[in-house]
Symmetry: C2
DNA sequence: CATTTGAGTGAACGCCGTTAACTATTGCAA
DNA sequence: TTGCAATAGTTAACGGCGTTCACTCAAATG
């Protein structure tokens, strides 16, 4: 483990600058606004120089997507670690952190959670099963669910129903997370579907025709989900649980 | 109401041909593959000629999105009309039809239900509240829910909880659908979130790292939702309700 | 029949990704 | 220290893109 040479330091700095410019363009104008020529212009370079660092624009977009996955995973882990010991509290904190990031980073959310983008698709396809960004991302949610299940099992549909609908179809999940109980897999898939669906609808502006302030619907879904996971929780009608309070 | 002139007939035919070419490109290569020059090439024309019919590429994409909304709405209405009198059966048929269309038309789904696309966004913004594509689309789901609610109310969270989370935030929905009971609004938003979320995850390939055959998870969610709407329904464990049977 | 309207063409401008040939600089080794 | 190889950058060019402009020609209109 020797110190990086001067050349290596310059190179990583340039790579970071290229990614930074790409992200700025992504935020300002969506993925279609990310262009090698614009990035190079902002850096005071010419476009072909970027080919010394990335083999194509698609590869650059894929690398950017990988960084976003890492950024988001770290954010969720921080939210989990700051939520105490209770697994349900951890899941709620992670869900809220995920929504907050998504709403404040719509372009980034669209890149990694929206319709497949050429560069991102190949980046995801090149990952091994365990290091698949979706798997690493899902692990943050699956882990507290597993621990909660072992500590105090939550209600689920009957085992034979789960077996018929999910049995034998969870191999990809097991390849990345080991032997996850079928009930936990169901709780994760069902819960994640609701969280993802609501956030995607909000970020993609698929809900504004029906309601305003989707955060409150999100909190309602969260409390419903939390109650399902832990029926001893205080009901959402308890005073002091008003969602959105204290968050602007 | 006079018969369309020869010129008008030719014009509508050309508009249809342009849209057809645009959709072919959309299906083959995603929205970024839709280009005026490629469309014109396929038609044996030059690109500037299309400006006689659409003011810009974005406007063409927006018009295409409008057609897709209409196509999908008609499909859902047909599914509803073919499902008999029971509202829950109608909702199930519509949900399955929606998923089937989405899975077989991923590019079209991404255009109208994915990250905002410039042309589509302005098209949606130009619609009046009642004719908003999302509203016309949502109406097909809201209507059976309203009728079911009046015929036999389904269980919901307590009224005060709904009031606190949704109260005063459903004006957009009421502007397009009239006085929808808050419980119905909740059931629609909650149910639609799960349907949309699961389908979007499947179409956007956000679930293949965890499981195969997402249709079975979709059917599990559907039966859960149906049981919530109508507790007298046969439980999902009843023989003969195996999801996916007869559709493989 | 004259005129206006509409449809379509070709050239051009400025973007874009990408490749090829070339230059200058850095780092390393004889 | 000198010489070589790797590295980082340049310019020029190709084809594709959306879009505009000036133009032609046929069709509808009076």
């Amino acid at each position: 483990m020797t110190a990086p040479s001067r050349r290596e330091r310059l190179r990583t700095a340039t790579v970071a600058e290229i990614k930074g410019g790409a992200r700025r363009l992504l935020v300002d104008g969506g993925v279609e606004a990310v262009s090698l020529r614009a990035i190079a212009r902002d850096m005071g370079m010419t476009a072909p120089a970027i080919y010394r660092y990335f083999p194509s624009l698609e590869a650059l977009v894929g690398a950017l997507a990988g960084d976003l996955y890492e950024e988001l995973t770290a954010l969720l882990e921080a939210a989990r670690d700051g939520a105490g010991e209770d697994e349900v509290a951890q899941l709620l904190a992670m869900s809220r952190a995920f929504r907050a990031w998504s709403v404040t980073h719509p372009a980034e959310f669209g890149l990694i959670f929206g319709a497949p983008v050429p560069g991102v698709t190949t980046f995801v396809a090149d990952c091994t099963h365990e290091d698949h960004p979706g798997a690493r991302f899902g692990a943050v949610f699956v882990q507290p669910l597993v621990e909660l299940w072992h500590r105090s099992p939550f209600p689920t549909p009957p085992a034979e129903v789960l077996e018929r609908h999910l049995g034998g179809r969870l191999e990809p999940l097991r390849q990345s997370h080991g032997a996850v109980p079928m009930e936990v897999a169901w709780a994760f898939l069902s819960g994640w579907t609701r969280i993802y669906g609501l956030i995607a609808m909000e970020v993609f502006d698929q809900i504004s025709w029906a309601m305003t302030d989707p955060e409150h619907l999100f909190e309602l879904e969260l409390t419903t989900f939390a109650t399902q996971l832990d029926p001893t929780r205080p009901r959402p009608s308890t005073a002091g649980s008003d969602p959105g309070a204290g968050r602007g």
